[in-house]
């Protein structure tokens, strides 16, 4: 196997001098907040596949927007929210018969995107940018969307966190606690859809889970209460984003794959470490929100 010689490691301080890098840093930081907080709920409520599907489903919308000059944000938002609505209508984001339908819908969405892309893009690079993200061209609008996603994630976690936990813990008893379960869950799905759209420019349609599921999964291996899960998840997402950005600049690859590989590696290390260590018997007293 041919091993291309690796380029030299760039100096972080030099990198920070460029506006491109500073913008990317800010963007990834905001996405880390959104992705870390929402990721905790995604992991607790078993919505990992949904998070991936909602990102991938936007691909044809992104291509079409590029072709027609429409706003990619609006196009992807429309598709993502439609996805959330469909999932909510089909009951919880559960599986069994839904697997086949969702799988085929995803294939159809991706295939449609490819078909459109061959008309829209000169080379494959355009489609790859939409699928795996880019550092170039991240602008004020992207930052604003990510900031909105972060703010929404924080607000929703404070207000709905207890309800989401109670529903996840005991869905049958949740209605007796006065929680409007359907509405609370729909809000969660919608929020994930909006936040996924915010992540598309930076990490791409195929790798939304790299920031929205993997950091939270790593945090889940390391924490024992919901509050610490939320905080660690955001912190890990930030570190992952930062590291991924650096690797992306070093190897000249899109940020999405770099972040994803770092995240998966972190998970692997924590999973191995967790398996080797015996689990403690009693947990420290920690209250949820």
């Amino acid at each position: 196997m041919e091993l291309a010689a690796l380029p030299p490691l760039p100096d972080p301080l030099v990198l920070l001098d460029t506006e491109l890098v500073r913008t990317a840093l800010l963007e990834l930081g905001l996405l880390a907040v959104a992705g870390g907080l929402l990721g905790a709920w995604i992991v607790l409520r078993g919505l990992a596949f949904f998070a991936h599907a909602v990102g991938a489903a936007t691909f044809p919308g992104l291509v079409a927007a590029e072709a027609t000059g429409a706003s990619p944000r609006l196009a992807s938002l429309a598709l993502a929210v439609a996805c959330a609505g469909a999932v909510e209508r089909g009951g919880r984001a559960g599986r069994a018969p839904g697997d086949v339908a969702t799988g085929l819908l995803l294939v159809a969405a991706l295939a449609t995107g490819v078909v459109l892309a061959s008309d829209v893009f000169e080379s494959a690079a355009g489609a790859e940018r939409l699928l795996f993200g880019t550092l170039i061209g991240l602008g004020g609008a992207d930052l604003a969307t990510s900031a909105a996603a972060a703010v929404l994630a924080i607000g929703a976690t404070i207000m709905l966190g207890r309800s989401w936990t109670a529903v996840g813990f005991d869905p049958e008893a949740a209605p007796t606690l006065g929680i409007p379960v359907a509405r609370a869950d729909l809000l969660l799905l919608a929020l994930i859809a909006v936040a996924a759209v915010a992540a598309l420019p930076a990490v791409g349609a195929l790798l939304v889970t790299s920031l929205y599921v993997v950091p939270a999964a790593v945090a889940r291996l390391l924490t024992r209460s919901v509050r610490s899960l939320l905080l660690s998840s955001a912190a890990i997402a930030a570190v992952q984003g930062l590291g991924g950005l650096y690797v992306s600049l070093w190897l000249d690859v899109p940020p999405g794959p770099a972040i994803a590989v770092l995240g998966a590696t972190a998970y692997a290390l924590c999973a191995v470490g967790s398996a080797l260590r015996p689990r403690p018997v009693a947990a420290p007293a920690g209250a949820i929100l």
């Binding site: 607790l44 404070i158 207000m159 709905l160 966190g161 207890r162 309800s163 936990t165 109670a166 996840g168 813990f169 005991d170 049958e172 008893a173 209605p175 007796t176 606690l177 006065g178 929680i179 409007p180 889940r220 924490t223 024992r224 209460s225 919901v226 899960l229 018997v281 009693a282 947990a283 420290p284 007293a285 920690g286 209250a287 949820i288 929100l289």
Partner: protein, 249 residues
């Protein structure tokens, strides 16, 4: 005395198909009701309707206030990162403002509820690490924080160690004397004798009366079909029997 839990000529089902018919009963405050029947006979369906998750196909089903639901222990997630205190605290969501973070007085109420069920020292233990009986007690603590007047318990004593079972039974007596109404589903015929009222279900309401009247041989046989081992008792006398249960694999 107005009923705490009642059903009037109700039938319940899914997708238009009835699975439980002929429901007609009423239980007042401060009463314990044993809901007896085989698996698949409709006990959980009844509870779903009482919780409000299932609308009756015909007739009405009514509960005073919002009931608390204590599901079978293996249904609640054991891998959720919540402590016993966290679970008890969930009861305070019922205060009406579910979008607010928990307050200090909520936490105190949760602590007191855990004391009441004898689990004050286990407040910080992860729920999944408690024993089956302890988990049941934590869920009952949640119901106490919820200030529910009616408690629906789905097979609370299944697979529970004798010490916990004893504590839980004592708790039932205490809750009853406080004026709460308990509906406890079980397939254990023997335990039904300790309740105020017995409701026998097997796809339809077969009997609703005090144990002496309800637990006759003919009623029990109708409820359980052939899955029965009768220990004593004749056709119209109170009978002691054990039901043979088939568990799904």
């Amino acid at each position: 005395m107005s009923a705490a839990v009642s059903a009037a000529r109700a039938s319940l089902g899914y997708g238009g198909e009835p699975v439980l018919t002929g429901l007609d009963f009423a239980a007042g405050t401060g009463t314990t009701v044993c809901v007896l029947g085989p698996n698949g006979g409709g006990k959980t369906t009844l509870f779903r309707a009482l919780v409000g998750e299932l609308r009756p196909l015909t007739g009405t089903v009514a509960v005073a206030g919002r009931p608390a639901y204590v599901a079978q222990t293996d249904r609640t997630r054991l891998d959720f990162p919540v402590t016993a205190l966290d679970v008890a605290l969930m009861g305070s969501l019922a205060g009406g403002r579910w979008w607010r973070p928990a307050r200090g007085c909520d936490r105190q109420a949760a602590g007191r509820a855990l004391e009441r069920v004898g689990l004050a020292d286990a407040a910080g233990v992860a729920f999944g690490e408690l024993s089956g009986g302890q988990r049941q007690r934590v869920l009952i603590a949640r119901a106490l924080v919820q200030k529910a007047g009616v408690l629906l318990l789905d097979e609370p004593l299944g697979g529970v160690d004798p010490d916990s079972a004893q504590r839980i039974s004592t708790l039932f007596a205490e809750l009853r004397s406080e004026g709460r109404t308990l509906l406890v589903s079980t397939h254990d015929v023997e335990s039904a004798h300790a309740f105020d009222l017995v409701l026998c279900l097997n796809r339809r309401q077969i009997a609703f009366a005090q144990p002496g009247e309800a637990l006759t041989r003919s009623v029990i046989e109708e409820t359980y079909g052939s899955e029965l081992v009768v220990l004593s008792g004749g056709s119209d006398e109170p009978v002691r029997a054990i039901a043979v249960q088939h568990h799904e694999h």
